[in-house]
């Protein structure tokens, strides 16, 4: 494992909706064990890329490979089983369930009991306890232990973001997709988030691909960045390369910036 | 008002209370569909029961109190209603109900509670089958079906009959079946037997089909409102055959709804109609009282049955000289030659009221009582 192997690969992925091409012949490789970023203006097709990877959309053409295996067209729950978890741009928690239950649903994937075990007394207790404990451990690791029994919908925004990540981690993923994890955070919170993402990457031995608008976050933690506009990759490279790429500046910051910069 | 007067008034009220206590009322329960799909039948019969109650509100020197309970045209509610009447109101007897399926669910409860019940117009044979406490003031479907078949065969001389029935209605299915089997037994032919579903209002496809088979007569065991519409649509489609129906067609409203189309329509019914010649005294009395109580409304056979059921109870209580349920049941079972609105009435071994079948024809927009027949079973 000394050589950086490819974790996830998009091969000429294209997705059309009616006449609109949301993702246009996009290819990239995410190396194992890295944190990579996907940036671009709103509506550039970044979230569509995530939906393609996580199986909500099937690419109109092209392929998606995960650890060498073709996962194109697999439904979301199979994709998740293979080891890809994700979060959502606008948080999608099970809002009436408690934080703990949210994470337990994530952990459900690794349960082996048939559905009727819980009905029979004591039969399911061992595994239920295991899942329960695992969920609790995760909540503790993410600093959410004290809100374990609070309904997820009532948590503060930042906690909801973290809970969503905790839930994704509960599925035991090897690859994590984060959709705007820093949205709505103040600079202090987002710098915490950077540490946090780095930590979970190391602790859980993950590969992470994230979409983010907060440049500080992206530039701070991503080892490789792709810039997407109109569903196409217009630039790629590390933070410095992106920062100084005129095409990126034009697309992302507006032409006027050039005049004033 | 002075204190004295108040005291006196209170005293009087108290006295009245004591007097009322002395003659404790006899409770007669009534469970009928007052709401829901069969509400019309329940309401018609309730009027009859109430008329009879007004006429004879005392028996054995004690006032009679009606306890009226709605069964919502629903089986579960019917069972609840009868349970309530037997267990909570502790009635001596129960009148009800319109609709055989409702009667069947109530009957089971009454049987357990050993309370006599008189069905007003539940004509399904299963209602009183194997029941000790269930009676009826009407005849049963096999009898009526045979009557209609006999009349069509012998009096009208028709050999080809069609049947159109509501397949979701137990009454219609039962009566149609008995008509058909009796008609076939007597050598007739059922050329076509079609169905519709409760609530349907458009019968044109079925009728077109029937017309194309050219029957002599169409048998419709329908409720009066939909029956009238069937006739209307049949005539609009050019049907020329005779149409015959059952007791559920017996209502003054039939003519109003059907208009010209019901001309010549025949139906079997319980032997009472305001147009019948040489009415018996009971029927006369009923007709007169009705006209006083409900001016501007014609008496109908359902009301007559409600009325009869109530009178049957009064007769049984008088005969038994007791309000004991067992005694009343026994008296009912032995009821013989009771002068009822629907003729002289005798309860037979299966607890059905034995009576001839009346035939009514609509002529010039008027109901004409054509007479009675007694089919051989």
């Amino acid at each position: 494992m000394n050589q950086p192997t490819t974790s996830l690969e998009l091969v000429n992925a294209t997705r059309r909706f009616g006449g609109i091409v949301a993702v246009n012949d996009l290819s990239f490789k995410v190396p194992q064990g890295t944190i990579c970023g996907l940036i671009g203006p709103n509506g550039a097709g970044k979230t569509t890329v995530f939906n393609l990877i996580s199986g909500f959309y099937t690419p109109t053409s092209g392929k998606i490979l995960f650890e060498g295996e073709d996962i194109t067209g697999n439904p979301p729950h199979i994709v998740c089983r293979k080891g890809i978890a994700r979060t959502f741009q606008n948080i999608r928690l099970f809002s009436s369930a408690s934080s703990l239950q949210n994470v337990m649903v994530g952990a459900h994937l690794r349960q082996k009991n048939p559905w009727w075990f819980p009905i029979v007394p004591f039969l399911a207790d061992k595994e239920e306890k295991m899942v329960h404990d695992r969920a609790h451990t995760l909540l503790e690791r993410l600093g959410l232990a004290d809100v374990a029994n609070a309904p997820a919908g009532s948590l503060p925004y930042g906690a909801q973001r973290r809970l969503e990540i905790a839930r994704a981690l509960a599925t035991n993923p090897r690859f994590l997709l984060l959709d705007e994890p820093a949205a709505g955070m103040n600079p202090h919170e987002s710098s915490d988030l950077m540490e946090f993402i780095k930590n979970i990457r190391a602790d859980f031995d993950l590969t992470i691909l994230l979409i983010e608008h907060d440049m500080k976050v992206v530039m701070g933690i991503c080892s490789h960045i792709w810039v997407v506009e109109y569903g196409q990759c217009i630039a790629e490279g590390d933070a410095d390369a992106i920062r100084n790429n005129p095409k990126v500046i034009e697309a992302y910051l507006g032409e006027e910036y050039l005049q004033y910069a | 008002m002075s204190f004295k007067k108040l005291l006196a008034a209170t005293g009087m009220l108290l006295c009245m209370g004591i007097a009322a206590q002395a003659a404790e009322p006899i409770k007669i329960g009534v469970y009928l569909p007052l709401t829901g799909q069969n509400a019309f039948g329940g309401q018609l019969e309730l009027e009859g029961v109430q008329l009879a109650h007004k006429e004879m509100s005392q028996v054995l020197g004690r006032p009679v109190e009606l306890v009226i309970v709605d069964n919502k045209s629903d089986k579960v509610e019917a069972a609840n209603a009868v349970t309530r009447l037997t267990a909570k109101d502790k009635v001596t007897g129960i009148i009800g109900t319109y609709g055989s399926s409702l009667a069947m669910s109530g009957g089971e409860v009454a049987e357990k509670a050993k309370t006599p019940v008189i069905a007003t117009s539940a004509t399904n044979p299963l209602v009183t089958k194997d029941k000790k406490y269930y009676f009826r003031a009407c005849f049963i479907d096999p009898y009526q079906g045979a009557g209609a078949a006999t009349y069509v065969m012998q009096n009208l001389g028709f050999k080809r009959a069609a049947v159109l029935k509501d397949v979701a209605n137990d009454y219609a299915v039962g009566l149609a079946n008995f008509f058909a089997s009796s008609f076939k037994k007597q050598g007739g032919e059922i050329v076509v037997n079609l169905n519709y579903n409760s609530g349907d209002q458009d019968f044109t496809p079925q009728l077109t089909q029937i017309i194309s088979q050219k029957p002599d007569v169409l048998f419709i065991p329908a409720y009066f409102a939909e029956g009238a519409i069937i006739m209307k649509q049949a005539r609009e489609l050019g049907a020329t055959f005779r149409i015959i129906g059952g007791d559920a067609m017996d209502n003054p409203e039939t003519v109003k709804i059907g208009g010209q189309a019901v001309e010549g329509f025949l139906h079997t019914t319980f032997p009472y109609d305001m147009s019948m010649p040489n009415m018996n005294p009971a029927a006369k009395k009923f007709t007169e009282n009705w006209k006083v109580a409900f001016p501007g409304k014609d008496p109908n056979v359902n009301a007559a049955l409600g009325y009869t059921s109530y009178m049957m109870f009064m007769e049984a209580i008088k005969k038994a000289n007791s309000t004991d349920r067992e005694a009343v049941t026994k008296a009912l079972a032995e009821l013989k030659d009771f002068p009822a609105v629907t003729g002289t009435l005798t309860i037979n071994a299966t607890h059905d009221a034995e009576m001839p079948i009346g035939i009514i024809e609509i002529k010039d927009g008027k109901r004409v009582y054509k007479g009675e027949i007694t089919p051989k079973m």
């Binding site: - | 018609l44 609530g199 077109t208 609009e236 050019g238 409203e253």
Partner: protein, 363 residues
Amino acid sequence: MMLTPELFIQHFFNALALGSLYGLIAIGYTMVYGILRLINFAHGDIFMLGAYFVFFSTIAFMPAWLAALLVAIALLIMFTTFRDKSKATPAWYWGAQALLLGLAGYYGFISPVEFQPPWVLAVFFAIAVTSACGIVVDRVAYQPLRDAPRISALISAIGISFLIENLGVVVFSGLPRAVRQPDMLVKPIIANISAITGNADSVVRISPMALIVPSVSLLLVSGLLWIIYRTKPGLAMRSISKDIETTRLMGVSVNKVIALTFALGSALAAASGIMWALRYPQIHPYMGVLPGFKAFIAAVFGGIGSIHGAMLGGLILGFIEVFITATFPALSGYRDAFAFVLLIVILLWKPTGIMGARTEEKI
């Protein structure tokens, strides 16, 4: 069974009439659903009320003063609902109010004759009062629940539907009543179609109502479409159905437009109730349950939210019911089941109905 041309033509017109009636009721469901995403279970009962009101006004069952009062209240409800509160009350409004009071007074206290208006007036009366009932249903049962979970509004709808039916039983009595039919509507039209069949005695008999119903329906639906596609309130309605918030931003008072929707839907239900009562001349308090239910099914497989779809769905349902029974008489007992089988097949094939717009959830 083989359909001869005569039978086919007869069935065709009967199916057309039945289908148009379903369609007219279905439009009410579809309009309310399109805007509120609410299955207005009380719609079938509104249809029943329409039939009853026309019955009352033609039979003079109701005391004259009550009839006049009802119209007055109905129009009052409509005026106050649609009055522009930001502007001074226009003179015509007061004029109309005065006229109403005058009418009520005239009919109620001065006129010695019975309130037995000609057909046109009776129909107007029935439609006005029924529309007002629609508005009242919205106000009482749905408006307080606009931002509640949708299921609460649904239960409220079931509740108000029970209420209308049972009040109907108490007030009108459960007994079916005969509706007076003008003679001209009773006599069937007999047409010789030997030109088509080549058979000299092939005759088609069609009830006049089977011709009137589709034509009136066509007229009413065109009128409705005109309102919806060519007028300002119609524009607001179409806009609300897609995006309430943006529509409010444009200055549209949503509650007023919803009230108008209920009024229009109820007016159509009243119209179909009236025609139903003329074609099947008996009415009773539960008469709306089954046609309402079937019309709702029709609205769904036409694509709920679409007016064309509702009419199309109604027609399809009418044709299916008539022609299945006509061609497979042995299956006549299963007539209701066919509608549902068709419904499920259509939903599986096109989950939002034939003319329904596909909506994709944003992830």
